[in-house]
Symmetry: C2
Subunit: 343 residues, 2 copies
Amino acid sequence: MSQNNIRNMDEFAALCGISRPTISKYFFDPNSVRPSTRDRIEAALKEYDYRPNIYAMNQNRRLTKNIGIVVPYLADPFFAEIARVIERRCIDAGFTPTLFSSHGDQNQEIAILDTLRSLRPAGVLLAPLGRASDKAQIEEFCRDVPTILFDSNIEGVGAAFVGSDNFSFVSQTVEYLSRTGNVPCFFEMRDPANPNANKRRHAYLEMMRRLNLEPHLVKIDGAGWGFEEIGRLGALKVLKEGLLPTDTVLCSNDRLAIGFLSACHELGIRVGRDEDCTIRLASHDDHPYSRFTCPSLTTAAHDYEAVSDYAVETLFRLIDAGGALETREETLFAARLIMRGSA
Amino acid sequence: MSQNNIRNMDEFAALCGISRPTISKYFFDPNSVRPSTRDRIEAALKEYDYRPNIYAMNQNRRLTKNIGIVVPYLADPFFAEIARVIERRCIDAGFTPTLFSSHGDQNQEIAILDTLRSLRPAGVLLAPLGRASDKAQIEEFCRDVPTILFDSNIEGVGAAFVGSDNFSFVSQTVEYLSRTGNVPCFFEMRDPANPNANKRRHAYLEMMRRLNLEPHLVKIDGAGWGFEEIGRLGALKVLKEGLLPTDTVLCSNDRLAIGFLSACHELGIRVGRDEDCTIRLASHDDHPYSRFTCPSLTTAAHDYEAVSDYAVETLFRLIDAGGALETREETLFAARLIMRGSA
DNA sequence: ATATAATTTTGACGCGCGTAAATAAAAGCT
DNA sequence: AGCTTTTATTTACGCGCGTCAAAATTATAT
């Protein structure tokens, strides 16, 4: 690779022996030029290591190759993991993804949408904060920018929603728990930040109705995204005051369950299926850490790959379709029960 | 806020009654214009909601307001947390941070540096992969782009390094453990990905020498960034085969310790200070989950805030100084021992 | 009020590339 | 070979803003 003193596309085109508009076309889509010219360009590219100025490119293109990925809380490894997969898919498809985290804060979420507007992305994959989101702002954003919602739905907003089927999660855990032991109570935050939490509560109630069992909701206080600590404090209170209606607890999500386990350990309460255990605990999400808790968590797992892949795929369809799909699709993927030590 | 049909800075300048070059100056640095004009611009800004085109801006500016943040592994909440703080500081200082994760992969790290070059950032905060990094490439990058290394040092590379003092971590845990019980052995990966691991091993050996105690290194196999699983498998092997030289284990980092705890639970081994416990376990990092493990982890904590703040502050100094500091500074922050249940 | 310094305006050019239309060349087909 | 279709070239303009120099204005100090 020789020293590249190439300042712009004109010079590179000259070195290639190919006209600048063709080079420009190549960089927008390598497949849009004849294979023989593509080869010549790529040979020159190898030799001279030229890269077009992205600012000049994006300024004038109808559509950039940028994709925004927004997650509500990146310190949650669940979102880190899903973001990783999505990022990979975007890069492989020739896009430039940029990752944003709202860090659980409404203002940050709005600020991100603002930043995203000026990035003029081809599309956005947005996992909203949920209850804490400013829905009007998100709706307005989605009108201007082709957006797929994932993980957490907002009715009617965005071109499509891709997520997990909360009923599938809860039905499996409830069925399993009630089949193998006592009736599960449902442990959750009183004011959950995420709409999935509400769907899970309803699913629990519905499943209990179907099974002809009496439902018990255990609601704990706490706000924000520090679910482990909220779960821990809530569990401490519930356990100390003997408020637990049954010996089988189904947490709304794994992070609450991690806190619950921590509380149990503090109080010397053994959790699991063994004879010396007094509580069974199960949960939902298959959080990356759930297999390392003590005991490991029985949980219903997201189909990470399917959700990520389908969300990305839907976004690409949306982009190809010029920014609008015929109808707003909602796609839900089923959960997979993972039986581990805690129940 | 009236409907903004403002297409460019010219139109906005006309609406302001201020010349475009002055507006341009304002957007580069609001303090560079007279307070009275600043007020007029900001009043108009409120009314018309104009935002300059970032692509046109960045194309022509000598220096963008972009800052790149690169972490080796975002699914590790430790990095997610530090990235969050750094991001905040950058935004508050009027910069536009972009977050990248190498996801533990050398090729990704190189690809990120490549992307960063074309972003022409004012500066970069880079936490390298460590052993897996292509040092030559990073070195070359740092010659072109003002870069501060953090978390993981590469000798002589970058304008400065800001991180934690590994000796401070290990000296405190070793001192505490050996004072309150049996001599600790050091539990680590045979080929650690991160250079901090090597520093910690040396610190352990040095501390043991000073205390006139016999050191024991317990090296386990495994590659990659799935430390919990590596720790779990390593611990299972060590515990089953009775290879543990003492009842006190000091893990190189919390994620290994989380895996270790998981293994202990599987084998029915109780960990902690209580009488019925057979192992004491301590570690380093104060991972966000370390307080929720069972038992909670005694660990040495990073001064997250100090590291983040000083890294950012140093980067700003570097940018102000035009991209080069007089000498390469290495700044290390001391750890803080956090005593919890595991030791 | 006057001199001086600081700020703003005017006018103009350039950045690197996208894009469009007309033309030319190449490829594919019969 | 002659035709059609596809692809590349030529030429030219525009995007939105940074930046520069000279001129005009405004603020500050004496």
